[in-house]
Amino acid sequence: MGNLIEHIGIERERIHFSWISSAEATKFVDVVKDITEKVRALGPNEKFKKIYN
C-alpha cells in the first residue's frame, strides 16, 4: 500500500503503520510524537484532495 501511494506521488512519510499493544501507552506517545514531527516537516498535503464544486 505504502509503495503504491508513493508511486502515485504522495510522500512516503504520509502513511504510517505501527503495532502498539494496549499496555504500551508510552510507545503510543512516542509514535504519535514521531509521526507528528515527520508530517509537520512535510507540511499540509495538497495532493489527492477532492475539490468539490
Binding site: 503504491l4 508511486h7 502515485i8 506521488g9 503495532w19 495532493k47 477532492k50 475539490i51
Partner: protein, 315 residues
C-alpha cells in the same frame, strides 16, 4: 501464428462432437481488419469460425468464471496463468476446463499500427515473423517483432503454464532483461513529478470501466465503484475520483495480475493502465518472489499470512 487456427478448429470440433465440453471459447474474426472478438462455439459448425492470429489480444480467462458447464479455452501464456488464478481462487474447477494451449509469439500493438497507418486499415495479414498492413494511405510489410505490444515484449511465459492439449510447438522462453524498466523510470521521479505524471496519465479517463470489464481477475459481484453505501469513490469526472478508481483497481490486482494487457487494449482513451499494475507486479515479485498464476497450489501473497512476510514498514 495463424497456423494455429486449423489446429484449434479441429481440436474444438472434436471436443464438441464427442460432447466432452459444452462450449469452446476462442476468437472469431471481427468486422474490421485487426479485430478479433472473443467467441464461444457451442456447435461443430460454430467451431469452424474460430481463428487465432496476432491480434487475439483479449484475455479469454475472463469468460470461464461462475459456470457449471465444462469449458474448453484456447489459452495463450497469459490466459493460462489467469486460468490458474481462477482455479486457485475457486472460480472454476480444474476438471471443468479443458485448456487448449496456444504457444504465443506476442500480439501486435494495434494502436501503433493505427498511429502509423491511419485508422482506415483495409487489410491485415501475417506470415510467420512478418505482418503486412494495408490502409487507404499505404501498404507495408513489417517485422512483427518490432510491433509487439509493450506487455508482450516483457512477457515471461509465452507458453501456457498448464494445458491439456497443445495447438502447436512450444516456443522458446524469451530472456527478458529488465521487465520493470518502465516502473523504474517512474520510481526515479520525485513525489511532485510522480503526482503530475499520474494526474496526466489518468486525465483522459472517461470512467467507462472497460479496463475493469476486460480484466479476468476483476470479477467481484459488486465492484467498489458501484457501491453506494458507503460510497468509496464518486461517480463523476472529478480528478481525485478518477485517481481513486485507478489506484484501487490496481490494488485489487496486486499479486494476481499477469500483465496480459487486456485492460490497456480495452481502454478507448489509450490510457496506460498497466503503469499501476506493473508497479504492484514489481513489488510482489521483489517482496514475495511471486509472479501470478504459475502455481495451482499457492494462494496470492496478499491473500495469505506467513511469519516470513516483510514487516519492516511497521514501527
Amino acid at each position: 501464428m495463424d497456423t494455429y487456427t486449423e489446429k484449434i478448429r479441429s481440436i474444438a470440433g472434436s471436443l464438441l462432437k464427442e460432447g466432452k465440453v459444452d462450449r469452446v471459447i476462442g476468437y472469431k474474426k471481427g468486422s474490421i481488419p485487426m479485430a478479433t472478438n472473443p467467441f464461444a462455439a457451442r456447435t461443430v459448425e460454430q467451431a469452424r469460425e474460430l481463428v487465432f492470429n496476432s491480434t487475439c489480444v483479449m484475455n479469454l480467462a475472463n469468460y470461464i468464471t461462475d459456470s457449471s458447464e465444462t469449458i474448453a479455452v484456447a489459452a495463450k501464456g497469459c490466459d493460462s496463468r489467469n486460468i490458474v488464478t481462477h482455479i486457485v481462487e475457486n472460480k472454476i474447477k480444474r476438471d471443468q476446463v479443458y485448456i487448449i494451449g496456444v504457444p504465443c509469439s506476442g500480439m501486435v500493438d494495434k494502436r501503433r499500427i493505427i498511429e502509423e497507418f491511419g485508422s482506415d486499415l483495409t487489410e491485415f495479414s501475417e506470415n510467420g515473423d512478418e505482418i503486412s498492413v494495408k490502409s487507404l494511405d499505404k501498404e507495408e510489410v513489417l517485422k512483427k517483432q518490432d510491433y509487439l505490444r509493450d506487455c508482450c515484449t516483457t512477457c515471461i511465459k509465452p507458453n501456457p503454464v498448464v494445458y491439456d492439449e497443445l495447438a502447436g510447438e512450444l516456443v522458446p522462453e524469451p530472456e527478458v532483461k529488465n521487465r520493470f524498466a518502465s516502473v523504474e523510470k517512474i520510481e526515479a521521479m520525485d513525489p511532485d513529478e510522480k503526482y503530475q505524471y499520474f494526474t496526466d496519465l489518468t486525465a483522459d479517463c472517461i470512467r467507462c470501466y472497460a479496463c475493469r470489464n476486460a480484466c479476468p481477475i476483476c470479477y467481484c459481484p459488486t465492484c467498489f465503484v458501484d457501491e453506494s453505501g458507503p460510497q468509496w469513490v464518486g461517480k463523476g469526472q472529478n480528478e481525485t475520483d478518477i485517481q481513486t478508481f485507478h489506484f484501487l483497481r490496481a490494488f485489487h490486482c496486486a499479486g494476481r495480475c499477469t500483465d496480459c494487457g487486456a485492460c490497456e487494449e480495452a481502454c478507448p482513451m489509450g490510457i496506460k493502465v498497466r503503469e499501476f499494475t506493473k508497479k504492484l507486479n514489481k513489488d510482489t515479485s521483489e517482496l514475495f518472489g511471486w509472479d501470478a498464476g504459475l502455481d495451482q497450489t499457492k494462494r496470492p501473497p496478499l491473500d495469505t499470512y506467513s511469519p516470513e512476510d516483510p514487516d519492516d514498514f511497521i514501527k
